[in-house]
Subunit: 241 residues, 4 copies
């Protein structure tokens, strides 16, 4: 059983009527319902809970953390960001969605500005699979069409991803690296572009399939935690210095 | 259930007494027993069977093919190599072991000479995990020690691997990229260095764990088969040419 | 001084009036004029010359080979393809243009089918720079627009490139990884998409700038040729096997 | 002309007699002399200068910054670290040497802990070239031997490097990814392992050759600075949202 925590700042839904109509219970609830499965158990956490809902205990019980934020990036406490980073380096998976590209945690893990071009015009997006062997593309057709979305365009200021899985085409003439994986320490990270708060993107079965695939891919699976620091030789050495 | 076929040229075991002592039933049988599991079903195939045991039907029923070859590389029929390549591009996983670096199928999929340094001196090898987040490293300690192995040294003439998982240290002063992944078409490929025929490497539980992890990682999991060739526009275009 | 040989099959220009109008002296001559510079010396070679113009001597005197082929891929002699591959592995740079994706030499170096989607409809292509730090993007704006080009669409059946530099947007709704680098042995390879024979793409100053940048990037610059084969230990070892 | 600034914390040399003997004028002066060339102009800067010698003006006049730090990592002002990061994202090259792995600037650009194993025992290191096509390996033999160095061992907690150029073998049984490249924004980064303060490593001509090669590779060469933020469509779109 993979234990997922969906984190949503949960602000737009409280103040913007337009968003409330699309996600009456919040983006986190739509995601939680959308990705639950026999092997995936989902909890949620939001910005205004104590410690943003991301207590030590909660993180210790999370295999994969999903992150959606936008207008409240600055309200996330630096100490919590540091805590999340340490858990990722220790093996917790992290899926960053859409405007989460500008979250403190994503910028901290990438080491870059994570800026991009954007346009809110409800235009068409088509996400092409460019890595059909990857488990995150499991069960998908050649491309996913989303009729109305916010545009994100290159240059997306991230490190070269370890693996590139989706490239988006936008009606207005731009392209975007929409599905990117990274590893940091023992943790796996997946950035996935779609999901502006005013569009019903997180009800799209193919979008949900991608996120579910991402959860399975990002779940911890690796080697024992490396030991670092001063290290005794494993073989006899002739000290020369 | 993942369907594995272990392919072994099965020549050394018939002619070299030293090898027969280590692998009386052949390397393929040792591997088959060593990696079988509740979710892994193993069959075998060898060079001297008709079509080297790799009929269309057999390959169609194989999720992951494991390849061990050495003295008989040239005896593998080009048409069978082509057949295996097509199945890999179509999604079958491939695990190439040790001297398989010089097999026709590996060279064809890599596009390089795949040559390396070597020395048969029974020296110590220590394989360090350099990607502890990777599922192929699942359940492993920081390094695996093999007391006696053939040495393989850099430069290993392969394309830069998609992911580097193990780097070997050798007693005689060399290093080697011992665990490398690649994807080709819809298929995933894992090269794993250890396994000279005169050493009992394929009875080592950690070595078997790596190969088992590799099987799970390489099993087909991706998107629908891409359609290629002449393609009608998905959006209206203004023909200018 | 970087010594470049531009290889062109030079067939379309002899039989298709439409192509002759665009490239009266052949694509190779347009490219040769377009990329010559104070530090770049250019020669040409074509399919119908003896040994396709790619003699041992010529290749020995080539730092970077540029390849354009289409209708004559099958007419290229396998022995010459082998010769070119060996030179690339030995350090010669290779720039493969447009329909060269289906050339024997590119497929041999990639190990995949190298197939893609295509459409000849004179539509608009916009190549976005996704790696603005790369020397192949030197001096370019954020994107290059080509008013009329053949479309190439994903999935492009190549190994994951070492570096992705351009992604194309097409009017008809597709995207394509249009600028990709690979290394094989000691040689560097750059694939660059644009350049259908019926459009004046190789007179576009930005396209020529990319190819010129590619030449400078792909020119040999590396370490001594590795020695492979049986290797004496560099450190004392205790033989155990 | 490539303008290089060598930054050294310059503390060990003032307080440890052993280090003073090896680098009487400081590590920065040894490096500055060692890498100067007809196309490379070198200045220096140190921790105790105002703004650590890294004023806005100085950084604006630096193409490649070389960083050596160890006991004074914590004394580097966060505002200066932020300034250096912005210049790297804007295109300045950065070469991080040895114990600089734990500098604020390297950790900030990597997004990971950057920890490793270490041992100060004057043992032998052998750096093998694993990417002989790379310009940073230009002019080198197959490996570099350093008779006495501090050991650094895996797992080195960095993101998977874009390119791996050197892998070190250590007498005591460890390996290390000793030459790694990364790009961040428009800037190129090269991490190179050797150079403990008590050994004369920065007088070794091959080590200096690598750093000089690194300078030429990391010098800015890319595309125009990307424009980000709200972006007008380049093609007509039908607003649906």
């Amino acid at each position: 059983m993979i234990k997922v925590t969906v984190w949503n700042e949960f602000l737009h839904e409280k103040v913007h009527e337009e968003v409330q109509k699309v996600y009456p219970d919040g983006i986190h609830q739509a995601l939680a319902k959308g990705i639950a499965a026999g092997d995936i158990e989902v909890a949620t956490a939001t910005l205004e809970e104590p410690e943003h809902g991301l207590t030590e205990e909660r993180l210790a019980n999370t295999d994969v953390l999903i992150w959606w934020g936008h207008m409240g990036h600055d309200k996330v406490d630096d100490a919590i960001v540091e805590r999340v980073q340490q858990r990722v380096l220790g093996g917790m998976g992290l899926i960053v969605l859409h405007s989460g590209h500008f979250s403190k945690i994503f910028k901290k893990l990438m080491g870059t500005g994570c800026d991009l071009k954007w346009r809110e015009a409800g235009e068409k997006e088509r996400l092409w699979v460019v890595n059909p062997a990857h488990p995150i593309a499991a069960g998908l057709p050649e491309y996913i069409t989303i009729e109305s979305e916010e545009m994100y365009g290159e240059h997306f200021d991230i490190p070269a991803p370890d693996e590139l899985i989706f490239v988006s085409w936008f009606e207005g003439g731009e392209v975007f690296r929409s599905g990117c994986t990274f590893s940091r320490g023992q943790g796996k990270i997946f950035y996935f572009r779609p999901g502006h708060e005013t569009y019903p993107t997180y009800y799209n079965p193919q979008v949900l399939q991608v996120i579910q695939n991402g959860v399975r891919w990002a779940a911890p699976s690796g080697a024992a935690a490396p030991v670092r620091g001063n290290h005794q030789p494993l073989e006899p050495i002739g000290n020369k210095g």
